[in-house]
């Protein structure tokens, strides 16, 4: 029983990490209908920017917010410079551009900052408040992910810009016809996703340590979690990630050998997708002809 509770908490805190990444993925999907798999490397790069500033003696929270702002700008610029020219190209070309961004950021980070693992500080105090099952940083991560979720949900559902963004993801031509500047919305979506990714990177780095490869695993899990829950839905992405974190741990503990748990988790996700093609909480867009 003790082991079960322990694994449950561990799964939840892992799930929160996946969820922070999943939120960035959902954000960009909600604006552009694209699933940006360079998102993880963008988050990694953001974390390095923060680390660099902390090294210069900038206080944590100032570095935190500057990093978010810088990442936002980088996101907007990435959309403008790298994605805009291929916006009307087939999906595959865009995928390859994502891959290009992925390898460039990875390689540059290694070149500039080095490949050895680095300690990234947590903003939360180290003394555990709630026993040994869960650290303060993990609790803090869950709280921040929750706050981001609420903010994203409110932004998308209760603001005009958020509504416009959802419109852009669905039908760019119609958006122009109601007077929305689609280009700006796409840029904004990339910027916000990069900003969310920056938060994710800064939350994940203290746990997995900072190095250019820090996101390689998290990205897989983040995507899997987002797709499991429903990639068009921030709630679904978070819940999907938490489920993935817990189920994966329990599988690895009680059912199969740990080395197979990712494979089995992915097979389960596919099985679920076969039954619910838009994820557990995903919406199907009905179209009556």
């Amino acid at each position: 029983m003790d082991l079960f509770i322990h694994q449950l908490f561990t799964g939840l805190s892992n799930g929160a990490i996946y969820a922070s990444m999943a939120l960035a993925i959902v954000m960009i999907f909600r604006t552009t209908n694209l699933k940006n798999f360079a998102q993880g490397e963008m988050a990694m790069f953001s974390a390095f920017i923060a680390w660099w500033m902390l090294g210069l003696g900038v206080p944590y929270w100032i570095a935190f917010f500057i990093t978010i702002a810088v990442s936002f700008v980088i996101g907007v610029l990435a959309e403008r410079i790298l994605i805009r020219p291929v916006m009307n190209a087939p999906l595959l070309s865009i995928l390859i551009v994502f891959f290009g961004i992925f390898v460039i950021l990875h390689s540059l980070a290694g070149w500039i900052f080095g490949y050895e693992v680095k300690v990234f500080p947590s903003p939360f105090p180290e003394e555990a408040v709630f026993g040994t099952y869960i650290t303060n940083h993990e609790l803090g991560t869950i709280a921040i992910v929750g706050a981001m979720l609420l903010a994203i949900y409110a932004f998308l559902n209760f603001t005009k810009t958020g509504l416009a963004m959802r419109g852009v993801a669905e039908n760019q031509a119609s958006c122009k016809l109601v007077g929305i500047n689609v280009n700006w919305m796409l840029g904004l979506g990339w910027g916000l996703a990069a900003a969310i990714g920056a938060v994710a990177g800064m939350l994940i780095a203290p746990v997995v340590y900072l190095d250019p490869s820090m996101m390689s695993g998290v990205l897989i899990y983040g995507f899997a979690g987002a797709i499991l829950g429903g990639i068009d839905n921030p709630w679904g992405a978070v819940v999907g990630s938490l489920i993935l974190g817990v189920v994966e741990n329990l599988l690895g503990t009680y059912v199969i050998e740990t080395e197979l748990r990712l494979s089995v988790a992915l097979v389960l996700i596919i099985a679920i997708l076969l039954i619910r093609p838009n994820g557990i909480f995903g919406r199907t867009i009905v179209s009556r002809v």
Partner: protein, 345 residues
């Protein structure tokens, strides 16, 4: 004329899910001459190139087959797979295990490995049918992640060699042939490549190919025309897996070693890069893509050994921006422009 209305004809030109199909640089007789000339060059090549260059040429052919396999699925049928490294691994391991456990000669092991991948691809294609776009990508990706893990699994390591991998014997040169083993594996690869490209060339132009392309461009309409989507798509998946599996088999014979690390999911992305950079839904693009994925990393390493992959990524973006239809499309544009310039044509 009745008042029954049909929507206005003029629609903005939308990009199809893949690229415009079948861009042919050359047509008719001149094409045949070119192909024959290329084959002739390919046959002379091993007697001109040094050993290492010959090895690279073999790798280019192997990658071309693997990329063609992916292209059949992704380019012609519009299904994106980021899991083809799994079929590469399957073909390679099948050849290794058939040789080691059953003593099967390589010339039998190559087609057998292909058939095993065909079967597996077909079976995988069935559930994959229900998934589209990125969900299919996730499913195939899972395959690429899971297979190396399975290959390392202790329970089956007596066959797979587990984390250590397996050695594969190089095909023996038939008695009396005045070629080295390296030249022989090149010729075996060349023979298989020509056969598979010829088959693909005919396949996409025949009724089956038209059905597959129709499914890509408009599934519902194709079904109305009587094309059984489920069978065709699964079959496409199978054929695609077979091509890539055969490439894996050739790769095992030429590298002489298979290990789980050889089939990292990164290889899947490399194949996809080759397909897009070469030109999706082109037969010859696979060759250009193979040249890119084999040579550009080395060129990038020469430019910067510290940030090799940043240079590689820059090359990649450059190709995508400058040649949106891949190198095959880009070359076609180039030819057209040159021809337009040439006086008296």
């Amino acid at each position: 004329m009745s008042t029954a209305t049909i929507n206005p004809v003029l629609e903005p030109v939308k990009a199809p899910p893949g690229y415009v199909a079948n861009r042919a640089i050359l047509t008719g007789g001149s094409r045949q001459v070119t192909v024959l000339a290329l084959i002739a060059v390919a046959i002379v090549l091993p007697f001109v190139l040094g050993e290492y260059r010959l090895f690279q040429a073999t790798q280019v052919l192997i990658f071309a087959v693997a990329i063609l396999g992916l292209n059949i699925l992704t380019g012609y049928n519009g299904q994106i797979s980021v899991g083809h490294s799994a079929f590469l691994a399957m073909g390679a391991y099948a050849t290794a295990i058939l040789g080691i456990e059953f003593g099967m000669p390589y010339w039998l092991a190559i087609p057998t490995s292909g058939l095993i991948c065909l079967g597996f691809g077909f079976l995988f294609g069935f559930p994959a049918l229900r998934l589209q776009g990125f969900y299919l990508a996730l499913a195939t990706f899972s395959l690429a992640v899971a297979l190396p893990q399975l290959l390392r699994y202790k329970g089956i390591e007596q066959w797979t060699g587990g984390v250590q991998g397996l050695f594969v014997d190089k095909p023996a040169v038939p008695a009396g042939l005045p070629v080295t083993p390296d030249q022989w594996i090149y010729f075996v690869t060349l023979f298989v490549t020509i056969a598979l490209f010829w088959a693909a060339w005919n396949l996409v132009r025949g009724p089956v190919g038209r059905a597959v392309i129709a499914l890509r461009d408009h599934e519902v309409a194709a079904e109305v025309m009587g094309i059984r989507a489920s069978i065709f798509k699964s079959l496409t998946f199978g054929v695609s897996a077979m091509y890539t599996g055969i490439a894996g088999s050739l790769s095992a014979l030429s590298i002489q070693f298979v290990a789980p690390d050889s089939f990292h999911m990164f290889v899947s992305v490399t194949l996809l890069v080759g397909a897009v950079v070469g030109g999706v839904a082109t037969i010859w693009g696979a060759f250009l893509g193979a040249l890119f994925v084999v040579f550009i990393p080395n060129v990038a390493e020469q430019i910067s050994s510290n940030a090799t992959w940043a240079v590689y990524g820059a090359f990649l973006l450059l190709v995508i921006y400058l040649m949106p239809n891949g190198m095959a499309g880009g070359l076609e544009d180039l030819f057209r422009r040159l021809r337009a310039r040439a006086p008296g044509r």
